[in-house]
Symmetry: C2
């Protein structure tokens, strides 16, 4: 596979990915310095920002301690497996680096975000444009660090492995097997970052709201509320570090899965060998360059409207997408990509955009679904909840159709219906295409919590109303981009998971061959086979159970927070009077500990079930499990993300009195949809609170579940292939 | 296949099914006469019962008009298809009889139920035992009529077809193909009965509660509430006629799918030909006899506790199950069933029981899940909703595991891992085994709404409190059996759907062969093929979208009811003062029209999507669609049924002040969990209202979706097999 021509070509293209990765990291550093160069405002503002920073880093420290333990345990297990010849020798080391750099990227992004919030507030005292630029470029640091580290170390491992691994027909397959270890490390880190961060942020948020807003009637971000700092920490922990780790995993996962699929392309494909392995890295490198251009394009006038702000972000994202398409066209003309594969890349890119748009449609109060939910507040919380759930369920239709279309086009365009190997490679490239502009899309996402924290800072520091108005404008924009970002995250997770599933099958065949076993990949994997069906049932169930565990975790953690806030108010009445300072640290500590403790259950489930199912039901069962989890989990995640976002915005619409309705009904029994503390608003708050764990914990956690289960399955393939026949023979399943 | 021995054997066993069916119908008539022989109480009681009866029949009439239209349309379509040689000539006629007798059984069951409610109230004035017997035996009429008609006409069609169809190797395959038309008729009727009934009952219930209980503070079933009669009609329409049609469909579906699978058994099976086709009918006949014995065993002492009542029902159900196992053993010794298939039957029976028990566990206030939900009422409606959803999601774990285990055992025991054809037949027999005792399990189910209506009658007629206490005891028991019945209904629907899916593949192969086409049933149906994956994604999505549509339908219909009740209260203040009689008929009319209008969308989806997907994605896509809908829909239905049931009982637990909790928290901010109209109770009411469409509309409707999609797919197979290659060629999918 490594022909002379490939090698010559490779030498040139080998240089581009590290160059782009270093460019990303350098730009990130530049943006970081630029942000630091701005003032952090008054002493009070600095004090608040420092408290949030301290809390965030304390949380990260405790999370990393836990992750280090788990990663250490897995490292040991992988070492044992590789000593038993049930895994490649370098896999444990690749695994550790994957986990480490995911964590490191999260740390850097979060540090930047906590450095930026007060500076954004300070800039907003000047003008909206300055605030936007600081917040957005801080978000860009996260985006660029993620793609930079991801691409750099994938490339470094690839180079190392090509040197170390013995040349021969199996070389590429073995190289990509090891790279998948890197992916699993990233995946495991993402699990803890996303699930733990999701629990942390919602425990603090729900806890702060239930006692502060509902019971005591004090406003959001009021400094008298002991959970305020924890709430602000939570935004960064969940939406910056958690989202970053999630997309770092998707980014690495899609690239390495596609590289692995490229290594086994059939002879009918017009692209093969090293070229096919390198193509996803090249595409990613291209994506970094166009993302940087897009980031630099984001700016607005000194005092802009909400629409102009959104337009500024949109311009950057759209410019990147168009440039990427042009760049991919360039690759076609250079002969590095076939026309069919070009179509695959575009299908992925478009699919991601459609999903993002549909999320915007379902969750924005400009459109019918969310307005309909707000309207139901007139008959109380129950009808508002029912309508929100119904809207959430309906909202899966467009994303599923978009993903299905993207899959079919990406598979069919390069000729997959004649040679499935090139079709699956096309699906992988579609995932890479969707994720290639991550540098900028993640920036628009990470920008949200920074703006949110800037608003919190303004409120707590008692700045003039106009500052808060400006930060609020940035924050509202952040909510819209966050909802679209969630759609994008689940869409890319689905395509990545699919590529990983294809890789899983490849890996199962590879290992069965290595062990001289016969693996029936024809009829045994048919959809009507009982082992496959059993796996599908279990996968669908697992998606629901995983969601339930994360939801319950939020409930328990929020309850602990409620107790603590109530205790502080009770024991020191001076807090509510504003004469005594609440104990913020205890609330931060509660969220930190609760997040850590409560994420153990979901984590065990995600990591433990795939090997357990594999040992009993074998490769067909695992395949069913992965596909069942993917198909059901994707629709479920749409429901959770969109219902949650729609309830949030429905509540805000009620607050803004923006909902109009016909006066056909008896006014005596109507709850007018007007402003805060009306019965309608109380109903809206119930919806918002139900939606909190939906959109910020359970929904995003599903992204991780889909990918992690595939990663774990791949890493444990040799064990499953070796041991499951024995167990099945004993059980009479064969 | 019809060897001389088979035929001789057949002549004997041909007699048993019609005998059992006629026995069931005769007993049903006997019970009906027995119930009618009891007094209907005071003039007021009779008047109320007559109003409910009138409303119920009015609804049925309007439903049947709609169904007649749709059935007529389909009949025409099938005639056209059969003229085009795209369907067997007798299929349209089988289809019509299937639909007709499903509707007729529903009519008889409902008529009995509406005759029985006042009689149950009257009997409760005497003693609890008399009330139980009347209510239960009226429910038994529904159960026996369903199994009687189902088995009788399946048998009649079989006999007719064996006479009419040309003898030869394809005879049995053709016979079963036609029988599936009968199944689709039943399925279509079930769709309208279940979905329409579900919308009707919840529109009336939610509408009555929102204005009556919440706004005006008048109790349930208060005669001043104009929606009271509609609410009582709804119970019968949804839980008697809807549930009956649902299980009639499962019953017929499981028998005929198994018969079809039996027709194509491979040579390795120790049972074959007519014997295998007749075995499910024989098992069903056996089930009728043991159900009758069980029904006669249900009785209690004159004044019994709740536990004793439940024990009485349990005794009957368990006795039937044990007798069925013994009977099946007898079939083994007679050489009509192999040991392996015997294990399949038992696996189905046990699987159904485990699902029923787990439903009881998750929804009864005796156990932790529901008590935990009630406990969350202390922090308001939002936390109660979150906990309920989490419990619902978790509650899918046991049923899915039970179904998966039942499938694997039922498939493996008769030797399915060596010869899949016998394994699939085993899965079919497991479904038949689970459903064979339907005569009694449906009786325990249909009994619930009768008891519920009896309570409503007692309240409206102003009978002494002790009567209402007795009917309440019967009603509470009915809630428990109803929850278990829902678990059983979805479990049997899943196995039936699975058998139908296997039949679908068989039918696709049959038709492809007839048309001289090549159908790749190996690699093309592999789980990682894009067409299969696309189908799976779409199937999972369809389950969610179907749910959303039914939920929205309830919301819209309930809203119309709310408007009407408010209007009546406003325009005639005498109603609330008790001096003027409300206009019950208008409310009945609103529910009737709303149910009819709102069920069109979900119906079109269920009937239209499978052929549409088939035409574009072909047989692999349809297979994916069916399996994706089944696996995701099953877990979703568990969530909906159990969360709904748990919220209902959590509210009741709060009313009964039965929830204890630790006094660790600040009493000043606690909502005490005490009795009605406390803040906790208001939170409980929100949960109950959200759960209403969950457990009585959307959840049960999913049962129908799973089966109907398979039926529709089977009936449209020839069209899909013929036309889809052309469309796919044009689209470049091949």
């Amino acid at each position: 596979m490594l022909s002379g021509k490939d090698r010559g070509m490779g030498m040139v293209w080998f240089v581009l990915p590290p160059f782009a990765a270093l460019l990303a990291l350098g730009s990130a550093f530049g943006f970081y310095r630029w942000v630091l160069g701005h003032g952090e405002g008054t002493a009070e503002m600095r004090r608040i920002a420092a408290a949030v920073r301290k809390g965030a880093l304390a949380y990260l420290r405790s999370q990393y301690r836990l992750v280090a333990l788990v990663v250490g345990g897995f490292f040991g297990l992988l070492i044992v497996l590789s000593l038993l010849d049930l895994q490649r020798p370098l896999v444990p080391f690749a695994f550790v680096t994957g986990a480490f750099f995911s964590g490191f990227a999260g740390f850097l992004g979060m540090r930047t975000a906590t450095m930026a919030s007060a500076r954004t507030t300070e800039a907003c005292r000047g003008s909206l444009n300055r605030g936007l630029k600081i917040a957005f470029r801080s978000g860009a640091v996260m985006g660029l660090v993620v793609v930079g580290f991801g691409l750099l170390f994938l490339w470094a491992w690839l180079v190392l492995l090509l040197r170390v691994a013995p040349e021969g027909p199996d070389q590429l397959a073995e190289v990509t097997t090891t790279l998948l270890g890197f992916g699993m490390g990233a995946s495991l880190q993402a699990l803890f970052a996303r699930v733990g961060g999701g629990i942390y942020t919602k425990a603090a948020d729900v806890g702060a709201d239930l006692v502060g807003k509902v019971e005591e009637g004090i406003p959001e971000d009021d400094p008298r509320n002991p959970a305020t700092i924890a709430d602000n920490v939570g935004d960064t922990v969940g939406d910056v570090a958690g989202m970053g780790a999630d997309l770092y995993e998707s980014y690495c996962g899609s690239i390495l899965a596609t590289a692995a699929l490229g290594a086994v392309l059939g002879p009918a494909a017009q692209i093969s060998g090293l070229e096919a392995v390198l193509a996803p890295l090249l595409l990613a490198a291209l994506g970094i360059v166009v993302s940087l251009v897009g980031i630099l394009l984001v700016r607005c006038r000194e005092e802009s409207s909400m629409g102009a702000l959104l337009g500024a972000l949109d311009r950057g994202v759209r410019a990147s997408a168009v440039l990427l398409v042009l760049g991919a066209l360039g690759l076609v003309f250079l002969g590095l990509l076939t026309w069919g594969l070009f179509v695959s890349v575009v299908a992925g890119l478009l699919g991601g955009m459609v999903i993002g748009w549909s999320t915007g449609y379902y969750t924005s109060d400009e459109h019918r679904p969310t307005r309909g939910i707000a309207d139901r507040a007139r008959t109380g919380a129950a009808t508002l909840i029912i309508e929100g759930l119904a809207v959430g369920m309906l909202s899966s239709a467009i994303p599923v159709t978009a993903i299905v279309t993207a899959i079919l086009v990406a598979f069919g365009a390069p000729g997959g219906f004649d040679d499935p190997s090139i079709g699956l490679y096309g699906v992988g490239l579609a995932a890479v295409g969707m994720l290639s502009t991550l540098g900028i899309t993640l920036a628009t996402d990470a920008y949200g919590p920074i703006a949110d924290n800037a608003g919190g800072n303004a409120e707590m520091a008692g700045l003039p109303a106009e500052v808060r108005e400006r930060t609020d404008a940035l924050d509202r924009l952040g909510n819209t981009t966050a909802a679209m970002g969630k759609g994008f995250a689940i869409g890319s997770a689905a395509l990545t998971a699919l590529a990983l599933i294809a890789t899983y099958l490849m890996s199962a065949e590879f290992w069965a061959q290595q062990m001289g076993q016969e693996l029936d990949t024809g009829a045994a994997l048919r959809l009507d086979q009982p082992l496959v069906l059993a796996g599908l049932f279990l996968g669908a169930m697992l998606a629901f159970v995983f969601c339930a565990l994360t939801m319950k975790a939020v409930g328990r953690a929020a309850f602990a927070m409620v107790e603590e806030v109530r205790r502080q108010f009770r024991e020191d009445p001076g807090i509510l009077e504003g004469t005594a300072e609440p104990d913020y640290d205890r609330c931060v500590g509660i969220s930190t500990r609760a997040a850590q403790r409560q994420m153990v259950g979901p984590a065990l489930l995600a990591v433990g079930v795939p090997p357990a199912v594999g040992l009993i039901l074998g490769v067909p069962g695992v395949l069913g499990l992965l596909v069942g989890g993917l198909t059901c989990g994707f629709a479920l995640a749409c429901l959770l993300n969109n219902a949650g976002g729609a309830w949030d915005n429905a509540k805000k619409a009620i607050e803004k009195e923006r909902v109009t309705y016909e006066e056909e009904t008896d006014p005596a029994h109507e709850h007018p949809l007007t402003g805060k503390s009306s019965p309608s608003h109380r109903a809206g708050v119930v919806g918002d609170t139900v939606g909190d764990p939906f959109k910020d914990t359970s929904g995003p956690s599903l992204n991780i579940l889909l990918k992690l289960m595939s990663m774990v399955s791949i890493v444990f393939t040799p064990l499953v292939v070796k041991v499951s026949p024995l167990i099945q023979g004993w059980l009479g399943i064969h």
